[in-house]
Amino acid sequence: MGEGVVLRFDGVGKRFRRRWALRDCALELPRGRIAALVGPNGAGKTTAFMLASGLMRPTSGRVDVLGVDPGRSGMAAGASFVAQDKPLYRALRVDEMLRAGAVLNARGRWDTPYVLRLVDEAGVGLGERVGELSPGQRARVALALALGRRPDLLLLDEPLAELDPLARKQVMATLLAEAAETGTTVLLSSHVIADLEDSCDYLVLLRDGRVRLCGEVEELLAAHRHLTGPADSAADPGAGHVVHRSTVGRQTTALIRDTEVPPGFRAVTPTLDDLVLGYLQQEPAPTSTGSAA
């Protein structure tokens, strides 16, 4: 599979009554990436998934997923979406749930043997009731169903929420292993950055309904420096390029972008944590490209 953009938001806005959940959002997701969608609660992550999967239509702008406009023609055949509450029928047995998946996807490229293998690898018996599975097992059944469509793009809203650390790792490992084999592009949201470090190679950061950062994790990290230095230093850590700065006692730390390291400061490449927290604490939250209120 070559490069190419599998998901594109172009000036996308979504308004609920008077509140803009998303505003002027531009983002591109290249094929083959494992992308993290991060941001605080209420930043617009779930709205972004709703728009990408065609469950909502944007108030303004254009959404393109695998060449189709999901708001008009429904979810792209090559896309798969698991909503935050992992909507499985709790009263069904696992085999009945899988049959439902097969029937609902009869016109697509549903792959029953593949789904059975994933469920088996999750240690889930076909006769078990969905409602009696552990949260980790339920997450893996939901993931198996989503992968059963053999998607080119997998959209996962908070797939790791409410899972214990072991289950989080297992779900992420399954997801990445399947992506490694199939080349599926993944967009997943989470607000636990530790789960994403090392796993995701692309980052989309939302705050207050706007895209603050979008790009390859490696490039974003390389473009920033995490500074530590004396609080009373006359040197100004790169005015205009400071994302966030805080002073505790005699020490100042700052996240800066694309700028020289001032004398007296120690600079290291930020971790993903540093980067995300820096942008989430940025003040005042800048208003992006010329949108009239």
């Binding site: 494992i34 992420m172 490992a173 990445l176 292993a177 490694a180 530790a194 090392d198 190679d201």
Partner: protein
Amino acid sequence: MEFRIERRSGVPTYLQIVAQTKQALRLGALQPGDRLPTAKDVVSRTAVNPNTVLKAYRELEREGLVEPRPGLGTFVLRSLARPGSEVDAQLRTDLEQWMRRATAAGLEHEDIDALVADVRDRHFRRDGRDG
């Protein structure tokens, strides 16, 4: 072989994979002709991004240590185990004696690491080589 990724080490993940592979090549745990674990194998054990594993393998390939064979996997081309095993054995004996003296003198694990690293770094700097 299995990779152990330390998330908080500050060392980029792909370099950890490169270093651990080289370590296995040095110790003979990996030998010419052996196949490295597939990206999928590594990912399913570590939850590391598959592109990171591939980047590490490309680096090992660039250094001439491994070779990808399309459809088959990535294979070890050469070992890093050094032939002079008698010299190595003598050095190891010397080092073990030194280590006994160091522990007898009350040095802790970290003290020894710091001392060894310092001497090693000074030595290589003086020789004008890089480590």
